[in-house]
């Protein structure tokens, strides 16, 4: 296997391949940064350009895009509260407040380093797991997916400490929205009121663009000024300290990377869940949970590490069985097919060198993109000094056009608008946005997995504890549900012993 690793690496070390990797990276950074574009659209548009290219060049190009896009997304998330791609919405939550405090440079620096480390950990995990990938994928069926989704919801609900009631309400609202559309289990179409567009439900990326970017632009317009509240405080030369922050909070990085790796491997969960789960877990174990959402650097490190870790592990089901876990993977599979690499159980056996070349290229792109992000952080931070009267209309335009560009469906613009207003109201009325995002992503899957599980088990609920992985997940779920109570017990005991002392 080591030979294959080295052969893969060696095949990249040619001018043409490296050139394509770099081009892919540039495209990935830009596509990642513009809301609504993202790696999926970029890859889809590159497909025809890869005709006639040798396979490794096409893989290098794709890897460049996939590896660099998250960094681009982080930059716009931090500077403009505009998630470049869905997972970056988690970075907005603490990244943008940091930019408002003039600490955009630190945030970008931390994001860049977390990106790289997360990417490396993800790659290492991928390489370790690849031999047993097929058995792993076979362990997860509908009951396991159902439990995982519920676990995700509970963890995120737990994270809105202090706002539990409103957090739950927000989460339920997200589930309501997620139930719109075609129900694959019964074949029913629900809550569409005859509108064709809603047949597939509310499209996620337009909704997120609205929820974060548009909502914030409305807010910014009302408060005249610039994003950075006080120009004198804008430290655009403290990126290095951002880098060091990541190393200082190494448990956060590690935790984020591991969550990203694990969640990324689950088809259908994807980057958003990985990022938000990582964020929520970090909040939960933190000693100062109230500081999150107001510019806690760990709130940037955690999701960023997860996002890049997931980029590697998301290849596991793709490479093992040809199952795309996300739209991005589906397009990538299309590129593989065009170049004679047929995804499926035989891919790893028949095309080892190319696949390892891909993995190396992905990691390389991730690290290089982070470096570029660092270099660009200083000039880009100046955006936070732009007066809102220039910035807001510009960002709004990019957001709405980008939202259309996701799949060239004009109704997306209305969705972005609606969620922009909703997001704005939520911030004004103090409802957390985190739970909505998770429910939007997991909502329809939960119902489908639940019904499928019961059909498989002939109606017996035992299926959720009979299989080894299900049992483990159920126990984890019980733990997560009990966590707030346990925490309260520990705190009150500490208080009591403190009072007695």
């Amino acid at each position: 296997m080591l030979e294959a690793w080295l052969a893969g690496f060696e095949s990249l070390l040619h001018f043409q391949e490296l050139a394509f990797l770099t081009i892919g990276m540039a495209i990935g950074l830009i596509a990642g940064a513009v809301p609504g574009l993202g790696p999926t659209t970029a890859l889809a548009l590159l497909v025809p350009l890869t005709y006639g290219m040798p396979a490794v060049s096409a893989l290098a190009l794709s890897a460049g895009v996939m590896g660099a896009a998250p960094m681009g997304g982080s930059i716009s998330a931090i500077l403009l509260n505009a998630p470049g791609a869905a997972p970056n919405a988690a970075t907005c939550i603490d990244g943008y407040p940091l930019a408002q405090q003039g600490k955009a440079g630190i945030a970008i620096g931390a994001a860049a380093s977390a990106n790289s480390i997360g990417g490396i950990i993800g790659t290492v995990s991928l390489l370790l797991v690849l031999p047993i990938a097929k058995s792993l994928v076979l362990l997860f069926g509908p009951p396991e997916f159902f439990l995982l989704s519920i676990l995700g919801l509970v963890v995120v609900a737990n994270a809105s400490r202090g706002k539990m009631l409103r957090g739950l309400v927000a989460g339920l609202f997200g589930l309501m929205v997620a139930s719109i559309g075609y129900n694959k289990v019964t074949g029913d179409v629900r809550f569409t009121f005859g509108i064709d567009y809603l047949w597939d439900g509310i499209h996620l990326v337009p909704a997120l663009i609205g929820l974060f970017a548009v909502a914030e632009m409305i807010n910014l317009w009302t408060k005249v000024g610039a994003i950075a509240k006080d120009a004198r405080n804008v430290r655009i030369n403290r990126m290095l300290s951002g880098l060091f922050e990541t190393f200082r909070h190494w448990p956060t990085v590690l935790r984020g990377s591991l969550i990203g790796t694990v969640v990324g491997a689950i088809p259908g969960a994807g980057g958003v869940v990985a990022a938000f789960l990582s964020y929520s877990m970090t909040v939960q174990v933190s000693k100062e949970p109230e500081t999150f959402g107001k510019g806690n650097i760990q709130g940037v490190i955690a999701p960023e590490a997860a996002i890049n870790a997931k980029d590697s592990s998301t290849l596991i089901p793709t490479l093992a069985f040809g199952i795309p876990g996300s739209a991005e993977m589906a397009v990538f599979l299309g590129i593989l097919v065009l170049h004679g690499l047929q995804p499926g159980p035989l891919l790893l056996i028949q095309n080892q060198t190319q696949i390892y070349a891909l993995i190396w290229a992905l990691t390389g792109a991730c690290i290089l993109a982070s470096c570029i992000g660092l270099v660009l952080a200083r000039p880009l931070s100046l955006v936070t000094l732009l007066p809102s009267t220039i910035l807001v209309p510009s960002v709004l335009t990019i957001a709405l056009v980008g939202s259309w560009a996701v799949d060239q469906t004009i109704e997306n613009v209305l969705v972005t608008l609606a969620f922009g207003i909703i997001g704005h109201l939520m911030t004004r009325l103090d409802y957390p946005r985190l739970p909505i995002v998770i429910s939007l992503v997991l909502g329809s899957g939960i119902e489908r997995d639940f019904f499928q599980s019961l059909l498989i088990s002939n109606g017996s609920w035992g299926i959720f504890v009979e299989r080894p992985v299900s049992l483990a997940l159920t126990l984890l779920l019980m733990l997560a549900l009990a966590a707030p109570a346990i925490r309260w017990l520990i705190k009150s005991r500490a208080r009591r012993s403190g009072a007695a002392a």
Partner: protein, 331 residues
């Protein structure tokens, strides 16, 4: 401006102005004859997002098709996903019949939709059928270590309790294939739907969550080659898989009528000359060595058809499926 989806690409105003002028005078109900067709980009609509099976078929054909067309115009893919393929059909239906918009359609899914009492807004037979990309036949698969070794085993076992089949959503061609196939084979089946696609469906069988599934041969190819699934029977007259039963050996010839096709259509009332150009180009493109090599690697069953053959097969399949209307759930 024309009433088509605005194509801001290469525009040769001199040559196409005449055509556009003529068509706007005549209205969209009359066939459009444009001298010098084609002289700009042709839009090839795909009913699913990029990366899926339909998308792959179209993308592999883009260059060969462009080469096969007179004046070698570019063919541009346009993914119009939504409503299970119905959105693409509608966009096509409403496009200008000038030969610059064509689409591959998931015909079986659309036929099904109509049978279930739904509507796609128009009659499929109104479209101008240009040709066909592929014709896939189905196979019944089980896990390699399954206790069911033959169709007979499944039939016997289903007498006590229904056999579990995995299927994607109730509106898909696979679903219909399973319903009709199990009915013809006298296997009492319980369909568990909602799987996210062919791969998900197959993994459920390998994992043991369900007992079997019915999918097209290209879809199951790698899984069977990698020994994750075993083909018990194919819905072919003569099975191409050694050791598997077929419609002849099972004495159920109608099984071979259950197929999946990927036809290409143009809007209603396209001029016959334009259809002929497209049809010839499509057939020629499908014989391109690169396409053939791709088909060999993926196991795709290319099946180019003429415009008349495609129109006929759409009608035949509509009547065939209509016979099983009672089996299909009503939406």
């Amino acid at each position: 401006m024309g009433r088509q989806r605005a194509l801001i690409g290469r525009r040769h105003f001199i040559t196409s102005a005449a055509a556009l002028g003529a068509s706007s005078l005549l209205g969209s109900g009359v066939p459009v004859f444009a001298a010098g067709y084609p002289d700009r980009d042709i839009s090839f609509i795909v009913p699913y997002p990029p990366g899926g099976a339909y998308d792959q078929y179209v993308r592999i054909l883009l260059q060969p098709l462009s080469q096969a067309l007179p004046s070698h115009v570019t063919v541009v893919p346009n993914n119009v996903a939504g409503a299970g393929g119905a959105r693409a059909a509608n966009v096509l239906y409403r496009s200008k019949p000038d030969g610059y918009t064509i689409s591959v359609l998931n015909a079986m899914g659309l036929i099904l939709l109509k049978l279930k009492g739904g509507t796609i807004g128009f009659d499929l037979n109104d479209l101008t059928w240009v040709g066909n990309l592929a014709r896939d036949e189905y196979a019944l698969v089980v896990a390699p270590n399954s206790k069911y070794k033959s169709v007979e085993d499944l039939q016997k076992a289903s007498l006590t309790s229904p056999i579990k089949f995995s299927a994607p959503g109730p509106g898909t061609a696979s679903y219909a294939a399973i319903l009709i196939g199990t009915h013809l084979l006298d296997i009492r089946a319980q369909l568990i739907t909602g799987f996210r696609g062919a791969s998900d469906s197959m993994l459920a069988v390998t994992r043991g969550d369900v007992d079997a599934t019915i999918l097209t041969l290209p879809a199951v190819r790698q899984m069977t080659q990698g020994n994750f699934l075993r083909v018990v029977a194919t819905f072919q007259e003569h099975s191409t898989i050694p050791g598997a039963e077929d419609a002849t050996s099972l004495k159920v010839p109608e099984l071979a009528e259950i197929i999946e096709i990927r036809p290409v259509a143009a809007p209603p009332h396209v001029a016959p000359e334009i259809v002929a150009t497209l049809s010839t180009a499509l057939t020629k493109a499908m014989k391109d060595p690169m396409v053939l090599a791709w088909a060999k690697t993926t196991g795709a069953s290319l099946d180019p058809m003429t415009s008349e053959e495609t129109t006929k097969i759409i009608r035949d399949q509509s009547s065939f499926m209509a016979r099983w209307k009672a089996l299909l759930p009503h939406g």
